[in-house]
């Protein structure tokens, strides 16, 4: 049983709908469930018609269900502020100005956003004792995959940094020939200490993702999202993560046999092509199809959710990922 469940996939395939529905189902089965949106364009708030923020909040109208939306921008600001304030505690103001530029620069690089999001991921996973299940509604494929590949990459990078630092401090110690005292000492080197803390964070994240997390890809029965899912499966598997299955969303329903108007003909044709693609998906992927969800007439959100939710819960119950 995996505590952390991730839903990923191309933009617009319905990850939020599927993860919300799955969250409802878990909650209905009595599991304390936390739904975490990591997509910068949050839509969990729209689905439940309730404004969520960076802290878990109970979802109104449902038992056992909590939701939160991660805000990396807030996290970047907080991170920068904490560095700056520890600077002013320790360093003379003249130097602070020179360093400030570097700090701002480091927080404005594109990687900063991902790093902040990643930090929040770690926080959420660390503080999750209160929940039986944590569901991550992730951002579209590219971003998420890069994010999830981070731990291993960062771990080895930090390791190399620490090794370099150790080498130089060791040399400084050796340079203390005769009665000279060393400029830097290996024990109580704050830099090495900080790097080791970071490394532990990354190790924790990597381990948790590999051992306690399950990934589901949401896709639509169209060429583009099938292709993208192939790449995503390959990338996730390469990173040592487990892909539990695929959920095909927005499948066109078949019209009744008696119908023969233009609309019905179009729908019948469409239904036929999509069923073929569905067969293709079942054939091409080694992962099972863990759910097939029919297209809804109206958007699954807002007030409609209340009406559709029951339907959806049954819908996903019949076809939901079996974990």
């Amino acid at each position: 049983m995996n505590k952390f469940v991730f839903f990923g996939g191309k933009g617009g395939v319905g990850k939020t709908t599927v993860s919300s529905a799955y969250g409802l189902r878990c909650a209905a089965e009595g599991m304390r469930t936390l739904l975490v949106s990591t997509d910068p364009a949050h839509s969990t708030s729209d689905v439940f018609d309730q404004q969520f923020d960076d802290d878990p909040a109970a979802v109104g109208g449902y038992e056992n269900l909590w939701a939160m939306e991660l805000d990396p921008d807030e996290e970047v600001k907080r991170h920068m502020q904490s560095i700056k304030s520890s600077m002013t505690d320790q360093v003379s103001p003249a130097i602070v100005n020179e360093i400030d530029r570097q700090i701002e620069l480091a927080h404005r690089t594109p990687g900063a956003y991902e790093a902040a999001l990643f930090d929040r991921f770690i926080d959420v996973m660390r503080d999750s004792e209160a929940y039986d299940r944590v569901i991550f509604d992730t951002s579209p494929t590219g971003g998420t995959l890069r994010l999830l590949a981070l731990p291993e990459f960062l771990e080895s990078w930090i390791e190399r940094l620490a090794a370099k630092r150790e080498e130089s401090v060791d040399l400084f110690e050796k340079a203390a020939v005769g009665d000279k005292s060393a400029r830097r000492k290996l024990e109580q080197d704050p830099i090495l200490e900080r790097l080791a803390e970071r490394k532990a964070d990354f190790e924790f994240a990597g381990e948790t993702l590999r051992e306690a997390a399950m990934f589901y890809l949401v896709l639509n029965p169209d060429e583009l999202s099938i292709e993208e899912s192939h790449r995503a499966v390959a990338d996730l598997t390469d990173a040592g993560l487990t892909v539990g299955g695929l959920i095909v969303n927005k499948v066109a329903p078949a019209p009744d046999d008696g119908e023969s108007g233009t609309g019905a003909t179009y729908l019948r044709e469409r239904h036929r092509t999509e069923q073929q693609r569905l067969e293709r998906i079942r054939g091409e992927f080694t992962q099972p199809v863990a759910g097939v969800i029919e297209q809804r007439v109206s958007e699954v959100k807002g007030d409609l959710l209340a009406e559709v939710a029951d339907d959806l819960v049954i819908d996903t119950e019949a076809t939901a990922p079996t974990i």
Partner: protein, 98 residues
């Protein structure tokens, strides 16, 4: 001045000379060499941490920025050195004191 005083003065002088010779020929150059090597290694470390200070995007600068409060003086000196350094020969040649 007694003979023993003169001998002691002579030995003291000799000791000072020998120590100076040892310091000049062995101790100082080796200390200088190792310390320079240490500085160079430290520079490589700084560069790996803060490559973005020179316009090279670094994926970890978000995390290494956390080290800055402990590295301030080193960082400022390093940045100045990196911008000012004329050539590798100039730095490596310093030990010969021409």
């Amino acid at each position: 001045m007694t003979v023993s005083d003169r001998i002691r003065a002579y030995l003291d002088g000799l000791d000072a000379w020998l120590h100076g010779l040892y310091h000049g020929m062995i101790e100082h150059p080796s200390f200088e060499k190792i310390e320079k090597e240490a500085e160079d290694t430290a520079d490589v470390f700084m560069f790996a941490c803060f490559a973005d200070a020179f316009g090279i995007p670094s994926p970890v600068s978000y995390y290494t920025a956390e080290l800055l409060p402990h590295l301030t003086e080193e960082f400022v000196a390093w940045e100045r050195r990196m911008w000012d350094r004329e050539s590798l020969v100039e730095r490596k040649g310093q030990q010969y004191h021409f």
